[in-house]
């Protein structure tokens, strides 16, 4: 069984017991434990089920590469699925549950897939679910969705805080093992500003477990000394529990800091995402041990040799009573020796190499451990737990009958450098034949903005696996990086540390060497996704020669661990199946993040009221306090309507329109864009921007103008007021304020830079209020101070002055067809002005109205709305706006494009009004059909609805639409099919439904 040893455990505090729950079972561990070590100390080896066959899964590793020990962690608003037990630090009250089984971990119904395994080969889903086609939507997809997925989705909102942090360093070092620490120390002396991060809580990496001594010091002393020396440097920031998640262009690197995951309760932000710019990056990310591919290597109790060693040394946990070691290299002998030292029986070391190991092997033998060279494990006994193994000659098909009892297998198939961060931004790899690993190609590092390399791998991440090589590589790598980051190398000689001789590794990709097809179907490559050797071979046979295709076909490396354990083993099988060399086949692409990071950290503080900026007018709070139903218009919130006494929105809109048309309405129009354009060339400039002539506009007058893109399409409209000799005030749509400002700046800066024109966006300087309706003038006269009579302020004129106590600019313009004034006051006076209008307007039963009433009233008048009547393909001529296109001008933006053959085609769809025969409301966006079919076999169309409303004024549905040759077809009836199969009939009319002669506004 797996249990806590009587003593030992570098990281745990045996005086501090921690209580936790796993699948409802109350268990305990010690402070310093990971969830994985605590589970193992309680003999909980079975921790989950695999994805496809639901086979029993046990803890394999001790780090972030873990494919099996994925758990549902926490409850309610703290719940999170797919957390790795090996990187989850234990805290009091932790609650975890295993995943992907029903009804229980021990008895899982889904395991039936296991017995159907031979009917579920690689590519099964692609082959099975393609025919018959209609089955996909109703049968296959629901079925697959139901059986897919690992952990549960959270059901409650995450209540933790997250934040971002922008940071800039000369040098960022990822990895706090001896390579990273030594690199940091060397670089620190150069005075560079340095960040070093380590994903685990502890510094020192593998050296605490792997070496008792480094030079003359114990490994603990060695690491402590490095840390205390580093801490003396003001220019060094050290962060543990922070993972280098991804490396991107121009020195951008993400650091994922987990601040609270090891605590029972949040204190401040849970995760912090560091968005870092680094001049240089060193990846000292170490390496990951590879599994050995032997039959039934997926049974719980089969673990990485390094992990077995970690649990013994760091946590004082023996992962079994009898632990067999299976290796192709010398490093795994350390596990055997360590286990022997802590009193755990090692019945056998199975070494695939005929020549056996070096000095470590001699030491193991001296300790009395049985070593079998040139051997393989041909069979594992047990289902939910290893019970025994059978061994045979490695160069064999699996014959041999010696059965050896053990309850854990510590395997080592060699090491793979963690090249992920090095590769994210284009670093190339090369294959090291001797060590059988891909390592960074130092001649093809990722390059930055200056075209020079900015990521350097050191230590075992660079393929230097032995300790003395690690230190030397960290030293050498660091020197070049310091120079590249602009630092000066303080020359100090590198202190050579000798290490025992190790015999070289022998790559074994399949064991035993001649395993037959039955055995190969039991050799797992990807433990989580259930990809076996025969699956990869099948993919190769079916022609998936590209490693990227084979990956997707077999799902090898597509699990949550992204193939950290499986990729190289799978790649080797694919290579041999294709008869190609490993470097020829290459690796799949390494993509960020290194391990999954929380969505919360990506969002940062952008949630709830900070989810996105909400722009508010000076009267925003009044609207909310007076029951307005707000709608988003860009980032603004504008009142859609102001429902009263439980009215429906539709009824409120009707009331607002009726009251405005019969007496008086108020509109908060502050969001309309206001761009001030001034300078000696301002008139010339506006003549280029608008289709109309603006230079001839008289001071004190207003003109409605249209703006087009260079493609000829209508992009914005609004009223322009001439302020003085050199100054115009251009009103834009609400959405156009920023984009039209940018449009103006673009032309001024990049095309007509010699024109003397300045533009300022003064939208927010003013609160603008529409006073609309037959009593509008009476209200302003009541407030007093300015003559707003028909004679003193005619239609399409403006004037400045004191209106009551307010600094007002009054525009007499109308978007409703009523007598109407738009009054701009400084934004800080806006609320008081609005209050006064409401108060003074009571005798006229004044009503504020919202955007929907605005829309309906303009449609009743046949006024177009940018975004309704236009969609980026509509030119002003389509909207019968030729009157607003100057014939006198040689040029304006879009003029040439409007001469294109398609634009002058007489058959373009043009604006008309549409009246349904029965008075009902046409669906917005509905298409009018025509005879015949189009080239795709669909019914031909001849027009579409662009705006459609119920008009309270006319008490019937009204619509505007674009119809082929529309204006010439007045009175014709066309048909609009509906989704339910029926059709509506509508008569083509003028788009001006109300007061066509403008008598209402001209008073």
């Amino acid at each position: 069984m797996s249990k806590r040893l009587a003593e030992g455990g570098l990281l745990i505090d045996r005086n501090k017991t921690i209580k936790f729950e796993f699948n409802g079972k109350k268990l305990s561990g010690f402070e310093g434990d990971t969830l994985a070590s605590a589970l193992l100390s309680n003999d909980q080896v079975l921790v989950g089920r695999s994805f496809k066959y639901h086979r029993p899964r046990g803890i394999v590793s001790s780090g972030s590469e873990e494919p099996n020990a994925l758990i549902n962690l926490g409850e309610k608003e703290k719940f999170e699925p797919n957390q790795r037990a090996t990187t989850t630090e234990l805290f009091d009250g932790l609650k975890a549950a295993s995943q992907n089984h029903w009804p229980s971990l021990n008895f899982d119904f889904g395991v039936i897939n296991n017995y159907l395994a031979r009917f579920l080969p690689a590519g099964f889903y692609y082959k099975m679910f393609i025919h018959p086609r209609p089955f996909w939507k109703y049968i296959y997809e629901p079925f697959i969705r139901q059986s897919a997925g690992l952990g549960r989705a959270p059901s409650q909102k995450d209540n933790s805080q997250y934040e971002h942090f922008y940071a800039f360093y000369d040098l960022v070092i990822v990895g706090g093992g001896i390579a990273g620490l030594n690199a940091a120390l060397t670089a620190a002396e150069s005075g560079l500003k340095i960040l070093i991060m380590e994903q685990t809580p502890e510094w020192g990496g593998r050296c605490l477990v792997d070496f008792s001594k480094i030079g003359d010091e114990t490994s603990s002393e060695y690491v402590s000394r490095l840390l205390s020396e580093l801490r003396k440097f003001q220019n060094v920031t050290m962060r543990s529990r922070m993972m280098g998640a991804g490396v991107y262009d121009h020195g951008y690197i993400l650091g994922y800091e987990r601040l609270n995951d090891h605590l029972a309760a949040d204190e401040g932000p849970r995760h912090r995402l560091w968005r870092i710019r680094a001049k240089q990056i060193i990846t000292a990310t170490g390496s990951i041990e590879r599994p050995v591919s032997f039959p039934s290597n997926d049974i719980p109790g089969v673990m990485l040799a390094s992990a077995v060693r970690d649990y013994a040394v760091k946590f004082g946990v023996a992962t079994g009573d009898k632990i067999a070691v299976y290796t192709n290299n010398d490093d795994a002998y350390r596990t055997a020796i360590t286990l022997n030292e802590v009193g755990v029986e090692v019945p056998v070391i199975v070494d695939a190499r005929m020549s056996g190991g070096g000095a470590l092997a001699e030491r193991a033998k001296a300790l009395g451990i049985r070593v079998e060279n040139g051997k393989a494990i041909s069979k594992v006994f047990g289902k939910k737990r290893v019970e025994a193994i059978r061994i045979c000659e490695h160069k064999d098909s699996g014959k041999g009958n010696e059965k050896i009892e053990c309850d854990c297998i510590a395997m080592s198939g060699g090491w793979s450098p963690v090249v992920h961060l090095y590769s994210h931004c284009g670093g190339k790899l090369k294959w090291d034949e001797k060590l059988a690993l891909f390592k960074p190609d130092s001649s093809a590092k990722p390059t930055s903005h200056d075209g020079l390399p900015f990521v350097t791998a050191v230590g075992s991440a660079n393929g230097s696996l032995l300790m003395h090589e690690v230190l030397k590589d960290a030293w050498e790598g660091c020197l070049s990086v310091i120079k590249a980051a602009g630092g000066k190398v303080k020359t100090k000689n590198f202190k050579v540390i000798e290490q025992q001789y190790e015999n070289s590794l022998q790559a074994i990709w399949i064991a035993p060497h001649d395993a037959d097809i039955k055995k190969r179907a039991k050799i797992w490559l990807d433990f989580q996704n259930d990809v076996k050797i025969n699956d990869v071979e099948l993919a190769a046979r079916e022609g998936f020669e590209s490693v990227e295709h084979a990956k997707r076909y077999t799902t090898l490396g597509m699990a949550t661990d992204q193939g950290k354990l499986s990729n190289i083993n799978g790649l080797a099988i694919l290579s041999s199946s294709l008869g190609k060399d490993i470097p020829k086949v290459g690796t799949t692409t390494f993509r960020p993040p290194y391990t999954p990071i929380s969505l919360g950290s990506i969002g940062g503080s952008a949630r709830d009221e900070l989810f996105q900026p909400v722009r508010k007018t000076p009267m925003h709070d009044w609207h909310e306090n007076n029951g307005a139903y707000m709608e988003p218009v860009g980032q603004w919130r504008r009142p859609f309507c102001y429902p009263q006494f439980g009215e429906t929105y539709a009824k409120a809109v009707e009331r607002e329109i009726n009251q405005t048309r019969s007496s008086l309405g108020l509109l908060d129009a502050s969001t309309l864009g206001k761009l001030l354009v001034t300078g000696p060339d301002a008139g010339k400039f506006l003549d280029m921007l608008y289709t109309n002539m603006m230079s001839t506009l008289k001071i004190g007058k207003c003109r409605y103008g249209l703006m087009c893109s260079e493609n000829g399409f209508l992009i914005d409209d609004g009223v322009v007021a001439r302020i003085d000799e050199q100054t115009w005030l251009c009103h834009t749509t609400t959405g156009g304020a920023d984009s039209i400002h940018a449009h103006m700046e673009e032309w001024l800066q990049t095309e007509w830079w010699d024109w003397k024109v300045y533009v300022a966006n003064v939208t927010e300087q003013y609160a603008q209020i529409g006073v609309v309706g037959p009593n509008a003038r009476k209200l302003l006269e009541k407030i007093g101070g300015l003559d707003v009579s028909r004679e003193a302020l005619g239609f399409m004129e403006w004037k400045d002055g004191k209106l009551g106590k307010y600094d007002a600019r009054i525009f007499r313009i109308s978007f409703s067809g009523e007598l109407s004034y738009e009054i701009a006051v400084p934004a800080k006076q806006g609320m008081a002005f609005w209050d006064e209008l409401i108060e003074a307007g009571k005798e006229f039963q004044v009503m504020p109205y919202g955007t929907e009433a605005l829309h309906v009233m303009r449609a009743e008048k046949g006024f177009i709305m940018i975004g309704d009547e236009t969609d980026g393909t509509v030119i002003p001529q389509d909207l019968n706006l030729n009157w607003a296109i100057s014939k006198k001008k040689d040029d304006y933006l879009g003029k040439r494009a409007q001469e294109r053959s398609f634009m002058v085609n007489p058959n373009r769809w043009k604006l008309v009004g549409l009246e349904t025969l029965d008075g009902s409301v046409l669906p917005d966006g509905a298409y009018a059909t025509a005879d015949g079919v189009n080239p795709n076999g669909q019914k031909s169309t001849q027009g579409r609805v662009t705006s459609s409303y119920f008009s309270p004024t006319l008490k019937r549905g009204i619509a505007m639409g674009l119809v082929m040759n529309g204006p010439e077809r007045d009175g014709e009836i066309i048909e609009f099919p509906k989704i339910d199969g029926t059709a509506m009939q509508a008569k083509i009319t003028s788009p001006v439904f109300y007061d066509p002669d403008g008598e209402k506004q001209n008073v």
Partner: protein, 109 residues
Amino acid sequence: MLVFKCPYCGIEADETELSPGGEAHLKRFGPGSSDEELEGYLFNRENPKGVHFERWRHVYGCGKWFHAARCTATLEVFGTYSAQTFEPPKEIIDIIKAKRPGWKWRNLS
């Protein structure tokens, strides 16, 4: 996530502070131009794997448009320069010539 130095305010601006504006040094063709000229102006763009000249605006900053010479394959930046010019300045051309022998962009080489 690119970084460009804005030539107008001297800031090393993050990509998130900028907005892209497509190919630089387009010549406007207005009324009187041929269909081919208009087509070229509105629609035809270089699409090089390698050196490219682009327009960017320092929108979350001084608001100015500027030009950048950049390698689309490696993202190396050869320099940024004023938007008030019809073609890349000589010093930028010289840098590119030295780093990318044999490059060609429209009629520049």
